[in-house]
């Protein structure tokens, strides 16, 4: 013990020097946005692995309720699958009657424009203005930047940073998250001219806004709001929420609507990353366009 103290006092100047340098370095990366982001990239993998071990413990105690949720998810998916099969059969029989149209339906069935990577939420916040989601899948699992993030209930976010084993997603509950949306009516048909922009204004994590809808759009309450046909990162028609009430008109010719989000962000756990097979194609096409640096 005495030797420890004598050692410490022998090097006390060097220790003080190092401590002060560490405090200063901590200030640099903690209290300055630019430096924090640079270090953030390097530290993300590290901190995510800590959160992961914590959530592993958490997980163990939630296994039972998770199991119930997964059963419910599976049931929902099977119902959707059966419904889709019936629709395909119906279309096929229609086409058989009208033999003039020889579309290779089998080919349509074979191609898979979107594939999904299942992932697990390691860390998620809902109460801030800028919320982020950390996922336990990274570049080694095929995750890329700008992939869409969905839960079975609806859209959840977009990947903005990818580490080796972890990735960081911008939550849909983030002031900077934007998405173009469309509405479906009660019988799940596209409602013409209801394109709008998704925005979240902070505050309640259950509601968001659909902004800049043309005044001519026949939008009604309880209509389903889904991702637009032109979305590159989400499958078209993926559920986002339902229209809760039609809102004010901030500018001439447009109006806003409040939507109730179908994803429960406070319980977000099993999520899927959307990999679109033609996004790389489109990206490479739009590279090197003038004004698109």
């Amino acid at each position: 013990m005495y030797r420890l103290f004598s050692l410490l006092s022998k090097y006390r100047n060097a220790i003080l020097f190092l401590v002060l340098e560490l405090i200063a370095f901590f200030c640099i990366i903690r209290y300055n946005d630019a430096q924090r982001h640079i270090m953030g990239d390097a530290l993300m993998d590290f901190s995510a692995s800590i959160y992961n071990s914590r959530s592993n413990v958490d997980e163990f105690f939630k296994l039972r309720s998770k199991n119930e949720e997964l059963k419910a998810d599976a049931k929902y998916l099977q119902e959707r699958l059966a419904q889709a099969e019936r629709q395909i059969q119906a279309y096929k029989s229609l086409l058989d009657l009208d033999s003039l149209k020889k579309i290779d339906l089998l080919a349509v069935e074979r191609e898979k424009p979107y594939s999904f990577i299942p992932a697990h939420v390691v860390k998620n916040t809902v109460h801030k203005n800028y919320n982020y989601i950390v996922l336990d899948k990274g570049s080694e699992d095929g995750v890329e930047k700008d992939m869409g993030l969905v839960s079975l209930q609806g859209v959840a976010g977009r990947i903005i940073r990818v580490g080796e084993n972890y990735s960081l997603a911008l939550s849909a509950l983030n002031l900077t998250f934007k998405l173009s949306l469309q509405a479906l009516d009660d019988s799940a048909r596209w409602v013409a001219g209801t394109a709008g922009v998704y925005e979240w204004n902070g505050g309640d994590p259950r509601f968001a806004y659909l902004k800049s809808i043309p005044e001519t759009a026949e939008l009604k309450e309880n209509y389903t709001v889904v991702t637009s046909e032109h979305s590159l990162i989400f499958p078209p028609g993926y559920k986002v929420g339902t229209v809760l009430e039609l809102g004010d008109k901030p500018e001439e010719g447009f109006f806003n609507a409040t939507i109730k989000l179908s994803t429960d962000f406070s319980k977000l756990d099993n999520v899927y990353l959307v990999k679109s097979s033609f996004k790389t194609d489109i990206d490479s096409l739009s590279q090197n366009l003038p004004g698109n640096e």
Partner: protein
């Protein structure tokens, strides 16, 4: 007692001039002179190491806080770094003349000694603040230009102050 009042006043003067005068002197929009370093570098060598480190950390931090758009902690980091290096450098420069560094008299040194003492430390300070701010070596040569201009500018002003106030 007399000494601590003298150095306390000196610290406030350097801080005042750094924040209100030298921070505004932007040469070619490349560099700002960090003249307050001279206060730390001209503190007597018989001051204890811990107080030297704490003073430089405090002064650096005050400059950080009082400068517009500065990166918090940056000056504190580089100030502690250069005062950590200063006695080693002074020891090398004065090895033939002095046995004991604590007896070193700033007034007795010649111009070449000051060049050898101030220039490397100012360069290290400039180097640290530029690369710690970026936390990477991108734009290396532009940064080097900024560091060079900043070092020269700071050194010239410091040397003038040394000739005016510190040398016999």
């Amino acid at each position: 007692m007399n000494d601590s009042i003298k150095y306390g006043l000196g610290l406030m003067l350097y801080l005042f001039f750094q924040v209100f005068l030298f921070n505004e002197l932007e040469l070619f929009e490349l560099a700002v002179p960090h003249v307050f370093l001279l206060f730390l570098l001209m503190l007597p060598f018989n001051i204890t190491r811990p107080s030297l480190y704490l003073i430089s950390f405090g002064l650096g931090f005050l400059v950080d806080i009082l400068s517009d758009g500065a990166v918090t902690g940056l000056q504190a980091f580089s100030c502690v770094l250069i005062v950590g290096l200063r006695s080693g450098l002074a020891g090398i420069l004065s090895s033939s003349n002095f046995r004991n560094l604590e007896d070193l008299d700033f007034k007795a040194q010649n111009g070449i000694w000051y060049v050898g003492y101030l220039l490397p430390l100012i360069f290290v300070h400039q180097f640290t603040i530029h690369f710690m701010e970026a936390l990477s070596f991108q734009n290396f040569f532009y940064k080097l230009l900024q560091i060079g201009v900043g070092t020269a500018f700071t050194f010239i002003i410091c040397y003038i102050l040394v000739v005016l106030f510190y040398k016999r």
